[in-house]
């Protein structure tokens, strides 16, 4: 019996080694999903970010029709990369609401003049307050919201060409 006990430390060490090596080799996953998916959008009222578009409040997001809520910023490079995809979604008839994160009106206006303005409304979130309410941890992020104002999907990071069809599909199912 004692002979078998002798192997226990080695077995324990191999187990420990396997766990550490596995952890080191697994690519780092930094994506933190919001726990607000499936819940109604939290109460908020953001002032208008630019003169040309109205402000954004919770009631604007429960209109009976599914919509997109896109968090962006003029200082965010991936937001430039996703701009054509947002314009394509707008062309497809999707109503896109914007939240400008930690930004100034001039910078937002310059950004939209340069890369296009796909938004029906833009609220300005200078203190990331609404972003925290939504459980969002960065820019850009896009939420799909159904007609009742319930969050049905969160897209983290920039929207690539191949994501457009998927988002349209989710929007259609939410309708």
């Amino acid at each position: 019996m004692n002979r078998w006990l002798l192997w226990i430390p080695l077995v324990l060490f191999s187990l420990f080694f396997a766990i550490v090596a596995g952890g080191l080799m697994r690519p780092k996953d930094n994506i933190i999903e919001s726990k607000m998916i499936g819940k109604p959008i939290p109460e908020f009222a953001l002032p208008a970010a630019i003169e040309q578009r109205p402000a954004l409040t919770t009631t604007d997001l429960a209109t009976g029709k599914p919509q997109l809520l896109n968090i962006f910023a003029s200082w965010c490079l991936p937001c430039i990369a996703e701009a054509p995809q947002l314009l394509a979604l707008e062309q497809a008839g999707v109503s896109i609401n914007g939240i400008a994160s930690r930004d100034t009106p001039e910078d937002i206006a310059n950004f939209l003049n340069r890369w296009g303005n796909p938004y029906v409304r833009i609220g300005t979130d200078v203190r990331s307050a609404v972003q925290l309410e939504l459980g969002s941890s960065g820019v850009p992020e896009t939420f799909v919201i159904d007609g009742n104002g319930v969050i049905v999907h969160q897209h983290i990071g920039d929207i690539r060409k191949e994501d457009v069809a998927e988002l349209l599909d989710i929007l259609e199912k939410a309708g």
């Binding site: 930094n30 607000m36 200082w75 930690r102 203190r127 990331s128 925290l132 960065g138």
Partner: protein
């Protein structure tokens, strides 16, 4: 000379792409006036994970979003919320991931009981060893 002036001018440039075009949230870098409340807020901030730089607490991080979170924590505590209420407000949005002091649940209970189990195991092993030594001595004597 021109080159020197150019270099000098470089000193006064600001990065074009910056998240800091805006001033920080009111309580991002300012303590609460009530020391007792500040103490509560402080110890909670040390247990909340920064969303941008995930290995730091929001108390340690310089990321603008961590500043916004610190301000939220302080304002909520100043408004009378308990630290546990603020913590659960964040957990509701980001999951247990956001706190460095995870609650006991189906996934985390092994973490919580492991130290106790290891301690009991160690005592049992040590006891066995001491006892054996004593009997050895008796045999020798």
């Amino acid at each position: 000379m021109t080159r020197f002036l150019c270099l000098l001018a470089l000193l006064f440039t600001a990065p074009v792409m910056a998240q800091n075009a805006l001033p920080a949230s009111p309580y991002a870098h300012r303590q609460l006036d009530d020391p007792a409340q500040e103490e509560k807020a402080r110890s909670l901030m040390e247990e909340l994970r920064c969303l941008k730089c995930q290995s730091q607490s929001i108390a340690d991080s310089d990321a603008p979003m961590a500043g916004d979170m610190r301000s939220q924590v302080r304002e909520r505590i100043a408004a009378g919320a308990t630290p546990e209420e603020v913590r659960s407000w964040l957990i509701e949005r980001y999951g247990d991931w956001v706190t460095y002091n995870p609650p006991v649940n189906a996934v985390t209970w092994p973490l919580w009981i492991a130290p106790g189990v290891l301690l009991i195991l160690a005592i049992w092993l040590a006891r066995g060893l001491f006892r054996r030594r004593k009997t050895d001595q008796k045999d020798a004597g």
